[in-house]
Amino acid sequence: MKCRSIAICAMLVAAGCAHSSVVLLPDEDGGHGEIGIQQAEGKSGETVLKDANSRATLAGGQPSIRPLGAKGLKPNEAALLATLPPPAKGFTLYFHEGTTEIAADSVGTLEQIRAEVAKRTGAEVQVTGHTDTVGSSADNDVLSRRRAAEIVNWLTTKGFDRTMMSAVGRGERELKQATADDVSNPANRRVEVLVR
């Protein structure tokens, strides 16, 4: 009797575990990654899931790999993909030399940023200011922070809460185009905005 109940339990466990799996999918922009699988006991080596649209088992011994086939994903898996948040989106705004004045051709980008923040639920905005190498690095740290603050302030005038935003200045540390010191460069006078 005891023996039989153990056998039933073992069967139930095996049946339940057979559903645990990992599915590797193509990336959103083509290509695909790779998944390494090790059993928790760590005795056997790593199994590598290399092909997109394939499934590996995650229980009941060594992983076995199968292509998804014509049936594709299970309905609950497809539903899961549909609720992934959208990818983060980056924008760059350019500035006049030594100022927090936005260059004329970047004014339109402001509106794009506003629209992107507005359409996301729980949006976060990361604002990073940069300068070119004209002037001292200490002055450029201040200027880069002021450029970032300018964008944060503009967004707050559009009704967005400061708690969703963070701003930092990187001065002349992260040049977009490498230059010698004291070189005016429009590509380096910028604020990078990441909307997540």
Binding site: G16, S20, V22, G36, Q39, E77, A79, L84
Partner: protein, 155 residues
Amino acid sequence: MFSRGTGHLFLVSLAALMSSPAFGEIGRIKSSSGVATVQRGTETLPASTGQELLPGDWLETGKGGRISLTFADNTRFAVGPDSRIALKKFEYDPTTQKGSFVAKVERGSIAVVTGRITKTRCDSPTVSRCGGMQIETPESVIDARGTRFIVTVKR
């Protein structure tokens, strides 16, 4: 006069606090539906939009519950119904864009699009000490080298 001055100071420091994300924040909830909570120690918080997440938090959904969230390195998660998922470790340096992310799927399902953290590589064969992103399940450890995948744990 004195009290007006200190009141002003207080407002300024409060504004400074509010303009940056919470210390230790690793990600935020973007949306949720149905029964969905964040377990933090003995606290149970509703998994509401904008909720900040900390290392060690558990994400829990009931029947029909869902949570969507993003992390500081741009990793994205969609958590399905009847799930229990631990954010065991999240260390990320935004300057070097390297770090280590360990999550555990105790039960349920999760769709993942990996972020910058998976670009952290090292020569050691021991994946758990190598940084990057690992997802533990009851019987396995997944080393996620990118980019889009779904993990389901039925118990």
